[in-house]
């Protein structure tokens, strides 16, 4: 190595009492490609160092919480070790599956095998309602994760078993995409084993089980929803596999089958990849306090009507208490020796072990035997640092819920620190085993976690071409798996998309109203000023963006600065239950609920939109800042709309957004024009209305004169080429509804198509001059009022029809509803 190239390793310290993955700087064969690249001038040896290889540069702009950030330097292992791990962990998966089958079946391990009763009955994650559950093909655990660490003697040991709903599969995939993009040459050069075949084999297996369980049965990912800390994983996997991501409320038990409520009615579900805790999955037979369960799920699962991965109750083995029993269980159940040792544990449910833990407390990590399900629940330090004891033995805690485990000096592996130097830290690997048609397979990759001074980081695990036997299923990218039509769109998601479309449009309307208000307030003469203020305020009240009390207060204020300050406090007060802030929050909430339907770009734009008012640069009460803020919001909304129009496939998802948008835009236009029924029509006033409807430029280019009411009505109501006109909204709604499911009637037109057609004809036949000039004695434009009112009824009815047909599924109920 040249002097320059050795620089990044200058600070690499060989750990004193631990195994060094880099073999004390001698760089063993399996590390050579990685280290050669990272110390080269393309890697960290050059000046300046490439930014994308600096640890902090890989923290992507993700809104979702990730447990750890990603280090660019991959982790790697030699062939022979990987084979040992593969054999050891698939054996362990098989063993844990057999134990689970026995515990939920004949329980011979207790009666005959001598397992102590407290191990099962004192275990809160043993779910009695799943008793005598005989899983199809005796598959209870389809996805397992193992945390392993290497002790100073070079031996890998299992630190923790994850059997409930292991997390990390989505994160591994994401790590791989990021790391692979950052170092494509190294990735190629090492011949890094790809993950796609493994994921595909697992997805295929789930899909096969679904089809076996229920004809036409689909596979879905059951998630606790966007509030769950690992939701990004569920969404990521859903997108990758092409499986819908559903919550409890999306599902219903009908007859003896599980059904997904979709846009097209109920659809059978044959298998679930479960990311929700089992006890929360059924409020009838499991935890009665659960808010996102599926009533009756446990009952149909037990009778084999739905295949759940992993089986409800699989968390029974997700603890340290079973560990010390595994060697003997392996011999009795599999007639084999346990290949991969576990961390030494002493479960205090037995008198001798309890005594040992009491005597050796200072050299052990003492904690709860039956731990709670959390991702990366045990920190790396807790495995090695005696000062980090979870708790000393409690007189008030039952002995069977206490455990002591040995402390271990974990092996160190290299990572890139914030100064661009390669240093080392204690390391734990999380590896995944999945059930496939060929039995259990170890994923050729995984997550390496390293403890650093700045907290834990994660690393992608790369295995060279010669290191792993490829999984024999053909290498097809999972995204090419036959995707189900998006008619499986869950009703709840459909509802969210519909409202997202409405809120986006409502937001745009409101921002235009505010912007007009601010600019007219600044520019307008005093007479106009009051009138404009009243109009805009009335509109905002109609839009639910202001309360009546606030409106009254605001219309009485006179000085510009005071107005600006008052407006500011109403609009952007996070405490306020009306106003822009609330609307932006709603948009963000809905967008995050349908995130798996959005592209990464669209999602980032949604986030930027929501954060617009929170930026530091806005000075409270400054009119110029308010205008700039409104401009920025309009810009971002337009960008987002462009993104949706240009980049979203014309699926049901897009149609629902469009439906929401057109309905809302139509209703907004009607509200604006309602002002014309009783008002005089000065030109400033008409320009305000044109501005609110974003039609000022169109008007000027078309008429090139001072606005007249007739022209204005023509443009806003009847001009089919103006995308802001009423007739435009009606024709778009007709087009969208014609493509919706469940809206086709055998006898001619459906109800929604009928009312839209009537509205269309009324508009075509309307006469702008009469609408403008027929004025009653009370001073109202009666013709105009009639047309607007009928349109308003049409849009209201359409909204109700959409809700009843697609979201509430009242069509499954007798017509009395």
């Amino acid at each position: 190595m040249t002097a320059k190239a050795s620089q990044p390793l200058d600070h690499y310290q060989v750990p004193a009492n631990a195994f060094d993955e880099l073999a004390r700087g001698a760089t063993p064969a399996h590390w050579q490609d990685v280290m050669a690249f990272f110390t080269s001038s393309d890697g960290l040896g050059g000046t300046p160092q490439p930014e994308h290889l600096r640890a902090e540069m890989l923290v992507r702009d993700l809104d979702v919480k990730r447990p750890t950030r990603l280090d660019p330097l991959p982790f790697t292992l030699p062939t022979n070790e990987w084979h040992e791990l593969e054999q050891g962990l698939t054996q362990r998966a098989k063993l844990l599956n057999r134990i689970t089958a026995d515990l939920y079946g004949p329980k011979t391990l207790l009666n005959v095998g001598g397992l102590p009763p407290a191990l099962l009955f004192g275990n809160p994650r043993f779910l009695l309602p799943m008793y005598n559950y005989r899983a199809a093909n005796a598959e209870y655990l389809q996805l397992l994760a193992f945390d392993i660490g290497r002790s100073p003697d070079g031996q890998w040991r299992v630190l923790a078993d994850w059997t409930e709903a292991p997390e990390g599969l989505g994160m591994s995939l994401e790590n791989r995409v990021l790391a692979g993009q950052a170092m494509p040459e190294l990735f190629q050069q090492m011949g890094t084993q790809r993950l796609a075949a493994f994921y595909r084999a697992f997805a295929q297996h789930l899909a096969d089980r679904a089809a076996q369980t229920t004809p036409e049965g689909m596979t879905a990912i059951l998630s606790p929803g966007p509030d769950h800390p690992n939701y990004f994983e569920h969404a990521y996997l859903g997108q990758y596999f092409g499986f819908p991501v559903v919550e409890g409320a999306d599902l219903t038990v009908r007859g003896q089958t599980l059904q997904l409520k979709t846009l097209e009615g109920l659809k059978p579900v044959g298998s679930l990849l479960r990311h929700a805790q089992a006890s929360a999955c059924d409020q009838l037979f499991l935890d009665p306090g659960s808010k996102d369960g599926v009533a009756g799920l446990a009952n149909i699962a037990r009778s084999g009507q739905i295949h759940i991965a992993n089986a409800l109750g699989s968390g029974v083995l997700e603890n340290d208490a079973f560990m010390s029993f595994l060697p003997s269980l392996c011999e009795s159940l599999l007639d084999e020796e346990l290949r991969l040792p576990s961390l030494a544990t002493w479960w205090c449910g037995q008198p001798d072990e309890a005594a040992y833990v009491a005597e050796n407390a200072s050299e052990l990590h003492i904690g709860t035997a039956f731990r709670r399900p959390e991702l990366f629940a045990s920190t790396i330090e807790s495995y090695q640092d005696p000062n980090l004891q979870a708790s000393a033995t409690h007189a008030n805690t039952a002995a069977y819920n206490q455990i002591g485990r040995e402390l271990i000096n974990l092996s160190h592996s290299p990572y890139v620190n914030n100064d661009g130097q390669i240093v080392s830290g204690p390391t734990v690997l999380r590896l995944f085993v999945c059930m496939t048609e060929e039995g259990y397979r170890l994923m050729p990759g995984g997550i390496a976690r390293v403890a650093t001074a700045d907290g834990e980081i994660s690393k992608d695990i790369w295995l060279g071409r010669d290191q792993v036997e490829p999984i024999s299923t053909p290498e097809i990218h999972p995204q090419n798996l036959t995707r189900r039509s998006d008619r499986d769109l869950p009703s709840r998601t459909a509802d969210d998309l519909f409202w997202l479309g409405r809120y986006l449009e409502r937001c745009e309307g409101a921002v235009r109203a505010y912007r007009s208000l601010f600019s007219h307030v600044v520019e307008g003469s005093s007479d106009d000023q009051q009138m404009l203020l009243n109009t805009a305020v009335q509109l905002l009240v109609d839009l639910d963006m202001l309360t009546l009390a606030q409106a009254k207060q605001l219309t009485q204020v006179s000085s510009t600065t005071v107005i600006a300050r008052e407006w500011w406090s109403v609009l952007f007060n996070p405490e306020s239950n009306v106003g822009l802030f609330k609307l932006l929050n709603n948009i963000h909430r809905l967008a995050s609920q349908v995130r798996e339907r959005l592209s990464g770009d669209a999602w980032r734009m949604f986030r930027a939109l929501a954060q617009t008012p929170a930026q530091q640069r806005w000075r409270l009460g400054q009119v110029s800042d308010a205008l700039a803020l409104m401009d920025q919001l309009i810009e971002r909304l337009s960008g987002l709309n462009g993104q949706i129009q240009e980049n979203m496939t014309r699926s049901y998802g897009w149609r629902l957004l469009e439906l929401g948008r057109r309905l809302e835009r139509g209703q907004f236009g009607l509200r604006v024009m309602n002002e014309l029924v009783s008002h005089s029509t000065g030109s400033t006033y008409m320009y305000l209305l044109l501005d609110l409807c974003d039609s000022t430029i169109t008007y000027r280019s078309r008429y090139q004169n001072v606005p007249t009411l007739e022209n204005l009505l023509h443009l806003l109501l009847l001009d089919e080429t103006n995308p802001r006109s009423m007739i435009y909204q009606i024709t778009q709604l007709q087009a969208v509804m014609a493509e919706m499911p469940l809206d086709q009637s055998n006898e001619g037109l459906s109800e929604s198509q009928r009312i839209l057609l009537i509205a269309y004809h009324e508009l075509v036949l309307a006469e702008p001059d009469k609408m403008a000039n027929v004025i009653s004695r009370a001073g109202n434009r009666t013709q105009l009022r009639r047309v607007l009112k009928r349109l308003s009824t049409t849009l209201g009815t359409l909204s109700e029809l959409v809700t009843a047909t697609y979201f509430a599924h009242t069509q499954n109920l007798p017509s009395s509803q």
Partner: protein, 290 residues
């Protein structure tokens, strides 16, 4: 002694319920030598209801009911004829010491003991750790186990005030012990937590009680569902104690079923879509029958 029981449950909703699922545990158990079920009928006020009868883990009969008809009222009528057989095949002082029962539960030697052993641990409503300290006052070395349980039973009856409306199904054992107040369900939960804290097996029993026996005081818990406890003693089997009435049950208690605590054997548990505010009315009539 034969009884006829009419148990009527009425739900009243503020808004229509779009669909509902209910789990009913309203069919009295057959108990060899102790209780015979002569007749049982269950009726729901809404037609087109799917009803499925299943056995739960503990052997109780469960009716799973699915309603897909919109409704604002639901009435569930359960009627039965039961023969309860007087029980006098045990003597408190001849029961084994409580220490020996703890040992037997740690290393069960028969399937009956294995069955009992699972009632020694915490469950959803039974926070055993919360009763650990409270339990210490009742133990004396070599005490016959049923004497020990009787002492706990009497203590709860004497020291805890029976008051409705203060607690609910989510009230925790620690709070009931601290406030010394509650209803039959709370007293059963405290007694079970105390017994389990000592390493002994105890289960929760749901059922009915006859209120009026000529010449005897009125018992609490009639005209509603009642709850008490059952304790396993290797020599005599399961013996039932009623902490609310300071009784060892004999022939006034009609057993519906049992579980680890209320959540395993609640008479009704439902999950509804829609409904708004709901009002629940329960009416129980227990009458001696010929």
């Amino acid at each position: 002694m034969k009884y006829s029981v009419k148990h009527c449950t009425e739900f009243d909703y503020g808004m229509p319920v779009i669909s509902a699922q209910q789990v009913l545990r309203l069919k009295p158990r057959e108990m060899f030598g102790r209780q015979t079920l002569l007749q049982h009928d269950i009726n729901l006020s809404i037609e087109g209801t799917e009803i499925q009868e299943i056995q739960d883990y503990f052997g109780n009969t469960v009716h799973e009911v699915r309603l897909h008809t919109p409704h604002k009222k639901l009435r569930i009528d359960s009627e039965c004829l039961v023969d309860v057989i007087r029980r006098d095949d045990f003597m408190l002082d001849l029961s084994p010491t409580w220490e020996s029962v703890v040992k037997a539960m740690e290393v069960p030697q028969s399937s009956e003991h294995w069955q009992a052993a699972q009632f020694c641990y915490p469950s959803r409503h039974i926070d055993v750790d919360a009763a650990r300290e409270f339990a210490q006052q009742f133990i004396e070395p070599e005490m016959p186990v049923l004497r020990l349980v009787l002492a706990i039973n009497q203590y709860i009856h004497n020291e805890f005030a029976y008051t409705g409306g203060v607690t609910n199904v989510y009230t925790e054992v620690s709070e009931i012990i601290a406030k010394r107040i509650g209803v039959c369900q709370d007293f059963a939960h405290v007694a079970i937590a105390t017994i389990r804290a000592l390493g002994l097996p105890a289960r929760y029993v749901s059922g009915y009680i006859l209120s009026q026996i000529p010449g005897q005081p009125t018992l609490i818990g009639a005209e509603a569902s009642h709850a008490w406890i059952s304790v396993f003693c290797p020599k005599f089997g399961w013996i039932d104690f009623d902490p609310t009435n300071d009784l060892i049950t004999s022939e006034q208690h009609i057993t519906l079923g049992w579980g680890r605590d209320y959540s395993d054997i609640a008479p009704t548990r439902g999950s509804i879509l829609g409904g708004g505010n709901q009002a629940l009315k329960v009416d129980v009539r227990v009458r001696p029958a010929a």
